[in-house]
């Protein structure tokens, strides 16, 4: 009789165990199909100076980061100060202005600081499609052979930078 009354509590304890474990698993963790694959190549006008063109071919032999952002994206603004900080530490950061109006994008770089060595302008978003972007910001780490080694979905967090991106850059630079 007593046991019958305790049973609901026992079942609940088991359930909590699973839920607690579940919190630390990521059901959406579907690795990007592009990781370990060559980064899609593109050429695009340079933001702010459309007479110049940015070629991914020229990046061969370098380790670099491609950060996709836009002036209309609130999360990108959140991420921006960290990018500026990264640039101060000579992290090779390149930008891709995704589906943006050039003057708006330039205004953001003007007011918040420009963390990018160069920013390519993807006004119609076709490069984003090649990379399978489903929301800015996204950041790719690309190695010397042009292979994507890491993809950050959403803003780069200080933890992701410290624990994943920086060690990876160190490893790739060798």
């Amino acid at each position: 009789m007593k046991l019958k009354l305790i049973l609901p509590l026992l079942l609940f304890v088991v359930l909590v165990g699973f839920l607690g474990k579940g919190l630390f698993l990521n059901p959406r963790e579907v690795p990007s199909p592009l990781i370990g694959k060559p980064a899609p190549t593109f050429e695009a006008p340079v933001l702010g100076d459309s007479s110049k063109t940015f070629y991914t071919e020229e990046m061969k032999g370098k380790v670099w980061l491609l950060n996709m952002w836009a002036s209309w994206c609130v999360a990108c603004r959140e991420e921006h100060p960290l990018l500026v900080e990264m640039r101060k530490h000579d992290i090779p950061l390149y930008g891709l202005a995704y589906k943006d109006v050039e003057t708006n994008a330039l205004a953001v770089l003007e007011s918040m600081g420009d963390p990018y060595i160069t920013t390519a302008n993807d006004a119609d978003g076709t490069i984003g499609i090649d990379y399978g972007v489903y929301g800015v910001p996204e950041t790719y780490v690309i190695d010397k052979k042009g292979i994507i080694r890491y993809k950050q979905i959403g803003p780069i967090t200080p933890e992701a930078l410290r624990d994943t991106i920086l060690p990876l850059l160190k490893e790739l630079a060798v």
């Binding site: 509590l9 609940f12 579940g22 603004r77």
Partner: protein, 654 residues
Amino acid sequence: MNPVIGHYALILALFVAALQAALPLAGLSKNNEKLFAFAAPMARIQSALIIFSFLILTYAFYANDFSVYYVAVTSNSHLPLIFRLAAVWGGHEGSMLFWVTILAVWTLAVTFFAKELPLRFRSSLLAVMGLLTVGFLMFILFTSNPFDRIFPAPFDGRDLNPLLQDPGMVFHPPLLYMGYVGFSVAFAFAIAALLDGRLDVTWARWTRPWTTAAWVFLTLGIALGSRWAYYELGWGGWWFWDAVENASFMPWLIGTALIHSLAVTEKRDAFKAWTVLLSICAFSLSLLGTFLVRSGVLTSVHAFATDPSRGLFILLFLVVVIGGALTLFALRAQSVGLGEKFDLVSRESFLLSNNLVLFTATASVLLGTLYPLLIDAMGMGKISVGPPYFDTVFVAIMVPGIFLMGIGPIASWKKASVPDLASKLKWALGISIISALLVPSVMGRLSPMIFVGLLMAFWVISSVLVAIKTRLKAIPGNDVVKKFKTFGPAFNGMLLAHFGLAIFIIGVTMVKGYEQEYDITMHSGETTVINGYDFTFKGTLPVTGPNYKSKQGQFYVTKDGKEIDLLTPEKRYYPVQGAVMTEASISINPVRDIYISLGEELEEGGWSIRIYFKPFVQWIWLGCLLMGLGGLLTMVDKRYRLKKKVTNNESAAT
């Protein structure tokens, strides 16, 4: 108006809610009656503060105050006003504030409409609700503050997800939350009864209208969400067994079990411990649903931002609330007693079987929903559980339950006779079987599932008629109209809800059994004949909405030369989010829907088009509406108001 005021109001509400919980509980343990008097005023102040805070946030949306981070990510200055207001609950932080606001509304309702309860009981009730408020306010203030600011403020907001820009967004979440959170009242009743060690017929009578009210809201909320999904998602589905849908469906199933079990507790003083357990479970499943949706442990089409710290907080909250309630149950349930005995064949045992069926059905839905998580947690890989599991298992469990549902209302309390029931129902069964065979012969196809579905529906309808007939016979006299008038609203409401379920089953069976789907390509000026209807495509028109641009297809639908409808499915582009949305267009009629949605525009100027014929699909929601109305009807029953006078007299006498 400064959004910071809203934040302060919430902090203040937290302290007042803590008093609302602590003072009466202290009064209970110290037997100090004076402390009880604090419960209601504290509850009112706290609720008013929360509602005020909610209005401040709403104002921020109204005024396009993008310095509030939450407004900046869920709204946009081009968003039409009505959707800006609905966007208040369009994201995580706002919907949590909305949750606690609804809790405040229910708390207020308890302080105003539960005056007939003894002060001691009403105070413990409010104390429990105060504890729940404290937990949720802490969650909001520590992990999900909707009043966080962003500096510099963006020029414009990121916009509400276009999927949510629909009238459904205005009504579905409020109804659903009223249902979800409404079960907190039944929960508080149960906890207060356990604390009090007293649970009797009066307790059940007090609890019933509150539980039914929550159930009605939940029924309508789920139905509205289903109808919204039907026309918005563009492929005519109405239920997906998605984790979030299941999260709302499980409290509904247990809530349904609860309102039946409460009926037995009220009428026969039986099932007492069971009723208390169900009251705890209904609200626990609401909380579990909140956890599943808000923590991101499960993937779902209702994708929300995931944040483990939020998940951990809600999990802790679940442990305290549900764990605490179940511990109290284990310790005190014996003191409330089990209640009266009854025979194996009696209305009690039919209702008990109904409860077991609903409980098992809930367990099967819970298992299917959590199964991917269980497998992942045990390191056995990643899987998903889809509609085939749910459809099969759920239907198999529910069929016997629906069969019993026909018998229950006719059986007598305490002891019923099998030959008597058989003689009353044999015609109902015969007619049901014949009708379930006749309808498919008209529709042109019979399958076992169609037969079973229709049999269940007709069985419920005919047994409702038998129940009316039996009731009429039991009353002496010859004037049928006069006799009919003596039926109480509780009885009529029950029958109406059962009838609504039958209508629902007909809708589901007909759609599942006879829906048709066509994928075609059409060019402007072409006419195609499908299913006896002529579809003439007159090309697309450009349409500019307040915050989108659209191509609107023009389809003239005629049958035998008679114009049926002009259908205008759209392909909308929302520039702020860069999102393309498909808006279906539907020709609605009681026995069939014609549903058109635009696919892709082809290179030579044609369009790929999808056309669905959905027989009787509207009956699904009509059935739910009738169930909800049935619930409402039972609430107006006189005995819930008469007792007020009685208790007043009693208290005057003592």
